[in-house]
């Protein structure tokens, strides 16, 4: 069952509960999305899925092929289109609205986002290597140190962790607790942090490996 929606990360805050404990939460603006296309297992596509559109786009910013795609579905142009696999018996049709209400009785969600880009990062930031001494003539600093042995093997192992491009990758934050679902304002509160910057696009879906509770 595809209990998934598109949204944006708004930011983080904290919330007090009655017993005085304070929990960190991420505020997500999720949906509403519209079904733009439905794919059926017994149709030409051979698998079942829905294509969701999110955020209204100005018609002048939509390419002509996509304009035709939206016209066929009879929905207003959207900025983001994303396809989600569904169960065979999924009843949603083209033009249906999907809101944050689908998470009403969901306890845990996975949130997929694009992490903040760090550019070319060293081993300390990228892999959490320890840093060396800073003073007394130490030349270690943030250098990675030795990257291998000597005559044998005479090369560096494949996959050796070194500096390189870090971040701006698809990251899934799994099993985040749903704190609040606000259908009126299309708002979802989840416990803990979510990958990406504020305003970044996220996919929220029912947790795939839900905890037993």
């Amino acid at each position: 069952m595809s209990t998934a929606l598109l949204g944006r990360k708004v930011g983080m805050t904290q919330i007090f509960r009655e017993d005085g404990t304070c929990i960190p939460v991420t505020v997500l603006s999720v949906g509403p999305c519209e079904v733009v296309q439905v794919k059926k297992a017994d149709g030409p596509d051979g698998y079942s899925a829905v294509q969701l559109g999110y955020e209204k786009a100005k018609p002048k910013n939509v390419t002509k092929p996509l304009t035709g795609h939206f016209q066929k579905a009879g929905v207003a142009p959207k900025k983001v289109l994303r396809e989600f696999r569904t169960e065979v018996n999924d009843a949603r049709g083209v033009g249906d609205k999907v809101t944050v209400g689908i998470f009403g009785d969901v306890k845990f969600v996975d949130v997929i986002g694009t992490s903040k880009g760090r550019g070319f990062a060293g081993t300390v930031k990228r892999y959490g290597f320890s840093i060396g001494g800073k003073g007394h003539g130490s030349m270690k600093g943030r250098r990675p140190g030795s990257i291998g042995m000597h005559t044998w093997p005479g090369r560096v192992w494949k996959g050796k962790r070194m500096g390189g491009h870090f971040g701006a990758a698809r990251i899934t934050a799994k099993n985040l607790k749903v704190v609040e679902v606000n259908e009126e304002h299309d708002m979802l509160l989840v416990s803990g942090s979510v990958p990406g910057p504020n305003g970044g696009l996220v996919v929220v879906q029912k947790a795939k490996t839900a905890k037993v509770k």
Partner: protein
Amino acid sequence: MRNRLIELAEKSSHPVSKHHFEIGDTVQVFVRIVEGDKSREQRFEGTVIRIRGAGTSATFTVRRVVGGAGIERVFPLHSPNVASVKVKGHGKIRRAKLYFLRERVGKRTKLKERIVRKVAAEGSKPRSRSRSKSKTKSSEASE
């Protein structure tokens, strides 16, 4: 400016104007402490030297001097564990943060008292979050 949705999310967590006090006030803070299944209230009395932050993360700092040693406690402004704050008196102040009190010893740790005539009006005045600092300043200027 804070985001509309973030404020909405915090709304359920902090009833606005739960406590009424200002910088320089002498207050009694009652903190709920849960031990096992019993809960009791602990009192801490002192001068409010700082109110900082916005939204649910706002805190205030209360300073008192016990036996020559200064003690400061930071309380979350909107925590349900801060059961109540009782204002015992108002201090005459000219700034938003009273860090200068930390350098003072003995009698000089006390602020001059500011007498507020309309006590009833004071209680009903909504304290618009931590922005009361500017309010305090303007009332000082008019005196």
